[in-house]
């Protein structure tokens, strides 16, 4: 029965795209159903949990309704693997979900993209950073409101320039996106007259960086570019901390640290520089309101995952609401040309060409925080202009 209804509405939607009249609200579904496919177990489980908390604030802010109907979200765990991600999203779409939210890992997100295109449902991405997710001529139904790895790499270059670093030693995860990232960094650094004294590709999931750290310590580099994220980044910083690498060389990376990862590293994270996707300290009215609501509800500071999820979802829901239509094509058309003036990170502009939100880049340093701040917290040191971080389409 559900299927028939789904087939009818999608057929109607497809027809309606070319017709002047939008489907009347009488035909609208009972609720606005979001298929949220995130990681809730394993290493990325914490990310899924925070994203959920962020989204719940966004939904609560609008009294749980959009287009006059209640918002219903199905939270599914993809175990950070593409196959369960596609499987669970397929099931939810079959049950009438109007959009997909997720995933966490870039591989899962890339897999969901084919599904979204196939089923013609919007896919909202607020965490996966792989550049391939938003590209010119890419998926019509995918939108990313958060950072790309590419822009974070450019922030690294801007930081190296601003800091006056002369020689860089890199360590890069043996993974396509980070390899591309390192190539980009190397090229941009050379243009800026910064020397590269070495780079090691470490296997993903590497648990021992001591030999690489030793090579770095012996080199004459004044900067250590860490093109590694998540668990491996924590492992690297814990181990480089044991020889005090950061005392003589600036350690920095595109997504090296935030409050969550700094807590995992411990004291060795102090003085490490990193790109920051969202930060609760950003000073604007929208952010103050969000942080207040978040702290009141969860009694903790919103992480970058929570903030990005909140930001992307509230932007999306506002745009959907403004279309006053249940036609998914209308949502897509409206979102691809929209601008968020009052995002929690400042102004965000959805680029029509690749569906990537252009935005400022935040850059910070891990410092010791005073209560009520977390014991290790990011201090925003630089805010880079969007124009320097995104290539024109």
């Amino acid at each position: 029965m559900h299927r028939r209804l789904f087939m009818k509405t999608s057929a109607a939607a497809a027809l309606a795209a070319g017709l002047p009249a939008s489907p009347s609200l009488a035909q609208a579904p009972a609720d606005f159903h979001i298929a949220a496919v995130l990681a809730f177990s394993g290493a990325y489980g914490i990310i899924g949990k925070d994203m959920r908390q962020g989204v719940e604030i966004a939904v609560a802010e609008r009294q749980g309704r959009v287009l006059g109907k209640p918002i219903r979200i199905s939270w599914e765990d993809d175990e950070t693997r593409p196959q369960p991600a596609v499987q669970k999203a397929t099931r939810l779409l079959a049950n009438g979900a109007q959009m997909i939210f997720g995933a966490v890992g870039s591989a899962s997100t890339l897999a969901l993209q084919s599904l979204a295109d196939q089923r013609k449902v919007p896919l909202l991405v607020t965490i996966s950073a792989d550049d391939k997710i938003t590209r010119v001529g890419g998926s019509r139904y995918t939108f990313r409101t958060s950072n790309t790895l590419g822009m974070e790499i450019r922030m690294c270059v801007e930081f190296a320039k601003a800091r006056g670093l002369k020689k860089i030693y890199g360590v890069t995860a043996d993974y396509q996106a980070t390899r591309d990232g390192w190539e980009l960094f190397q090229a941009e650094a050379k243009k800026a007259g910064i020397g590269i004294v070495g780079n090691d590709y470490a296997p993903l999931g590497n648990r021992d960086f001591s030999v690489i750290v030793d090579k770095m310590a012996k080199s004459d580099a004044d900067g250590i570019a860490v093109m590694i994220t998540g668990n491996d980044a924590v492992t690297f910083l814990k181990q480089s901390g044991q020889v005090g690498l950061g005392k003589t060389k600036a350690q920095f990376g595109p997504v090296l640290q935030d409050e969550t990862l700094a807590a995992a590293v411990g004291p060795a994270s102090v003085g490490v520089f990193s790109g920051v996707r969202y930060h609760f300290s950003v000073d604007n009215a929208a952010n103050k309101k969000f942080v207040e609501a978040y702290r009141a509800k969860y009694n903790e500071w919103p992480s970058s995952f929570a903030g990005e999820a909140y930001d992307g979802m509230s932007w999306w829901l506002d745009v959907v609401d403004a279309t006053k239509s249940w036609d998914r094509e209308k949502w897509v058309e409206a979102f691809r040309t929209s601008t968020r003036e009052n995002s929690v990170e400042g102004r965000k502009v959805m680029r029509t060409c690749d569906h990537q939100a252009a935005q400022v880049g935040l850059w910070g340093e891990v410092v010791e925080g005073q209560a009520p701040l977390p014991p290790l917290t990011m201090k925003i040191t630089n805010t880079f202009d969007a124009a320097n971080l995104f290539e024109a389409c």
């Binding site: 599914e76 765990d77 593409p82 049950n95 870039s106 890339l110 084919s114 396509q176 996106a177």
Partner: protein
Amino acid sequence: MTTSHLGRLAMAAIIAAMILVPVIQTSEESLNLVSLILIWALFAIGFDLIFGMAGMLSFGHAALFGSGGYALTLLVTKAGVGFVPALGAAGMVGAVMAFGLSIFALRVSGLFFSLLTLALAQLVYILASTKLRSHTGGLDGIPGVPRPELFGIDFYDNRNYYYFLIVVFIVGIAVMALLRASPFGKALQAVQANDVRAAQIGYNVQRLRQCAFMISGFYAGVSGALLASLMFYISPQMLHWTTSGDVLIMTVLGGKGTLLGPILGVAVFEVLKEKLSQYTQHWYGILGLIFILCTIFLPNGIAGLFARKAAGRPGDAP
């Protein structure tokens, strides 16, 4: 283990009923779930040919499964081969990979066979996710794996694809039933029971094992290709050793050494995963508990429930 005629009939009836659920109940959810079960069941009955019939525990089937998926993806998208020939080719690639593995792995026996197949498959996984990334898409995989185009039917519609899967599945299970009943099947059982005696009465034991392994590889290749096509996506995750672990668990859960047991195992495994995760966050742990209880109390798997009483010692195979 022997199942009674009645038991086998009952199992067949349950499986047939399950497969036909989406025909009656029109929700896409059951359609998707049954499609998944059909594919994994094909993989599991192929796996059981060497595990249950020939008594060799391969921990390298993920490599066969995944290479089938990659073969189909690359042949259709890069070389422009039609879907059905590519599906056959995926099976062949699975068989050839199995042949390759067997050259190494059949030099050792018992537990070492399992470990060597595990190590070789893991090597394939590492190669696919790193050094061969230009072909495999690395850990990000390849999105947009196609579906068949036949007789003007749109197989991108899940229902049509589901009918396609039923056809492949029925062919697969019929061939497997014939194989198991054939002299080849009997010879495999003889080898499992006592390989020295089997050699003495004139069987070429190594050749038999190699053949079984390749047929099993063919099934793995085809099912891997079908899964990639169902998901529109393939990644080295399919080659990871946990995939081998999954098919093993399903087979043991269902009842190794039986034709229909593994299919029930697949169904129970997939349905449990799917349903538990909808109702509780703690599905992971509950699934673990169920495995533990099944292992202790259902030594012959689900198929054991359909067996004659006192059909051999518990856990004694076959």
